[in-house]
């Protein structure tokens, strides 16, 4: 059985520092080479297609006017915001859960380099999935208009596109930071969804429009509320709310981002750099 020699048959390249780009490629591959990763991506793609199909079907079957490009974009970025952060969480927590971190960090002892490689891989994934969502949205705008027999409404401004993308990236970073802080998949998922789906989507938005104290407190502690003056000033005005898009609004925005993205990222990175790996 030991007939095969341990020496390589062809000389291997000389050992130089592992280039950062190679680490990013490896991390990218790790996101997609397990069943969990592939299923998440397939579900994301499937949901985008499903949402688009339902909208088109409803447009065809009812006398509803074709949706404009902005509505398409926000409808299709929802599945992305729901599922892609899970991959950002798993790229970190999976290593600890399956204890592959022992392998990862012996092959690249610079933990910060590995953290950045993961972060970049996740970032690229966020941009790619958003590009798919926006692309399908554009296609839907054209198809929907053709079905309804009207001209497509191209009302997406560069600013709106930038905000949509920035929002996705922020939530992705938040998931990544929470994952490093907790190093545990279920815990990171619970906190992530607890914040995005329960706090922001239900509690904050419900209380915000009713109570004065909520209107002064929430912009500081909720990214979604803090972004409203910049993303949806018209709706705010229609609801009789003051649109704070000046220095106060920006201060609120940065505070909420620091709280939910900055803090987990910094504390999480410290935890990963300092902790004993076993």
């Amino acid at each position: 059985m030991s007939a095969v020699s341990v020496a390589p048959s062809t000389p291997l390249p000389t050992a130089t520092k592992v280039p950062f780009g190679r680490l990013v490629m490896v991390e990218w591959r790790k996101m997609t080479d397990t069943r969990a990763g592939r299923v998440m991506l397939m579900i994301t793609g499937g949901l985008i297609a499903l949402v688009a199909a339902i909208i088109l079907l409803v447009t065809a079957l009812s006398d509803m006017a074709a949706l404009d490009a902005t509505t398409w974009m926000s409808a299709l970025s929802f599945p992305v915001s729901l599922l892609v952060p899970v991959l950002a969480i798993m790229i970190v927590t999976q290593e600890w859960g399956q204890r592959t971190h022992m392998v990862t960090f012996t092959l690249e002892p610079s933990r910060l380099k590995v953290v950045f490689a993961k972060l970049l891989a996740v970032f690229v994934l966020g941009v790619v999935t958003m590009a798919v969502a926006v692309g399908v949205g554009a296609l839907g705008t054209v198809l929907g208009a053709a079905i309804a027999g009207s001209d497509p409404t191209w009302n997406v401004t560069g600013e709106a596109l930038a905000w949509t993308l920035a929002t996705q990236i922020l939530y992705l970073l938040m998931g990544f930071g929470l994952a490093m802080l907790l190093l545990n998949t279920p815990a990171a998922l619970v906190i992530y969804y607890g914040y995005t789906l329960i706090l922001e989507a239900s509690i904050f938005s419900a209380l915000y429009f009713v109570f004065d104290w909520a209107q002064s407190l929430f912009p500081w502690i909720s990214m979604q509320v803090a972004m409203m003056p910049f993303i949806a000033p018209d709706q705010m005005q229609a609801a009789g709310l003051t649109v704070e898009d000046g220095a106060l609004g920006i201060a609120r925005l940065f505070t909420s981002i620091a709280l939910w993205v900055g803090l987990p990222l910094v504390l999480g990175t410290m935890r990963v750099l300092k902790s004993e790996l076993k």
Binding site: A15, R29, D33, Q94, Q98, T106, L277, K278
Partner: protein, 309 residues
């Protein structure tokens, strides 16, 4: 060469590794031996930078692990064969390692062949691997970068006897090519057969080191014989006359003299010997004795059994 200098790791009130120093030389297999919880794994994790030492340092060919460029090409590490993602295939695990180290894909096939994992086994997810298969994969993972140094924690765990023999041959060949091998185990017989040098650790401290022979002679085990003869009484008188102590055990006696001395005494007094052998403590006895404090079971009984065997 691996050099460990004054390595200490403290967890609160508990000292897992206590001022450990040793050198694992190139061209040799060094066995790191100790009971469960003696500090073997902690020491190995410190060597590869996964755990920070409280004091001291470990260097590999003169540099700290963290300073090695592309460390997988210098040091092959297997700390836990089960620490692989259940959902990846064996081939994928090696592919990721090859990618990180910048190796050609052909190296993956070479390694699979080396550790005798068939193409169909390599395509299976690790969830469906036996512990022995995981160990083989782990050894392939450690060797893929053609490193000069190997650090293996309990590599024989889960291997069948044929697998253990295979690994012994592999590591021997590797050391003969000038490689450094440090492997840990709690199974004495396994290490005794592979290792050129032994380091015995108990309670976080090194209790003995050297070759098997130097450890044996260094612990007063020489000069003990077990003897049985047709006339034990006459032999006892002859041996006592020479100043040796004699103690009856079963049908024979334990004598505080080397077998050659006992044979001479028997010849001189015309006693027929039916059994004569070295009654010195084996490596196992010394191991148990030296690491007694960290053993979970009381060692007195084990020791007695070992002595009368």
């Amino acid at each position: 060469m691996i050099k460990v200098e004054g390595l200490t790791r403290v967890y609160g009130p508990f000292t897992a590794v206590d001022d450990v120093s040793f050198t694992a030389e190139a061209g040799k297999v060094t066995g790191f031996l100790g009971p469960n919880g003696a500090g073997k794994s902690t020491t190995m994790r410190i060597m590869v930078g996964l755990t920070n030492p409280t004091k001291g340092r470990a260097t590999i060919n003169g540099s700290l692990y963290a300073d090695l460029p592309n460390p997988g090409r210098h040091v092959g590490v297997l700390l836990d064969a089960s620490a692989q993602h259940d959902g990846r295939t064996g081939r994928e695990v090696l592919t990721l390692a090859a990618m990180t180290m910048g190796l050609p894909k052909s190296r993956v096939d070479e390694m699979l062949e080396l550790v005798s994992l068939t193409p169909s086994e390599a395509k299976r997810r690790i969830k469906n691997y036996s512990l022995g298969m995981k160990q083989r994969l782990g050894i392939a993972h450690a060797l893929i970068g053609d490193p000069k140094v190997l650090i293996l924690d309990e590599p024989a765990n889960g291997l069948d006897p044929a697998g253990i023999r295979w690994m012994r041959g592999l590591l021997k060949e590797y050391a003969d090519r000038g490689g450094t091998v440090l492997l840990s185990s709690h199974l004495l017989h396994e290490v005794e057969q592979i290792a050129d040098e032994l380091i015995l650790i108990g309670n976080g401290r090194i209790v003995a080191e050297g070759t098997k022979d130097t450890i044996l002679s260094g612990h007063g085990s020489a000069g003990q014989s077990l003897v049985t003869s047709l006339d034990n009484e006459a032999l006892t008188v002859a041996l006592k006359a020479k100043g040796y102590s004699v103690e009856p055990i079963g049908t024979g006696m334990r004598v505080s003299a080397a077998p050659a001395e006992v044979g001479k005494a028997a010849l001189e007094s015309n006693v027929v010997l039916t059994d004569l052998r070295d009654g010195g403590a084996g490596l196992e006895d010394i191991f148990l004795q030296l690491t007694a404090e960290t053993q979970r079971e009381s060692t007195t009984q084990i020791h007695a059994e070992g002595a009368s065997a």
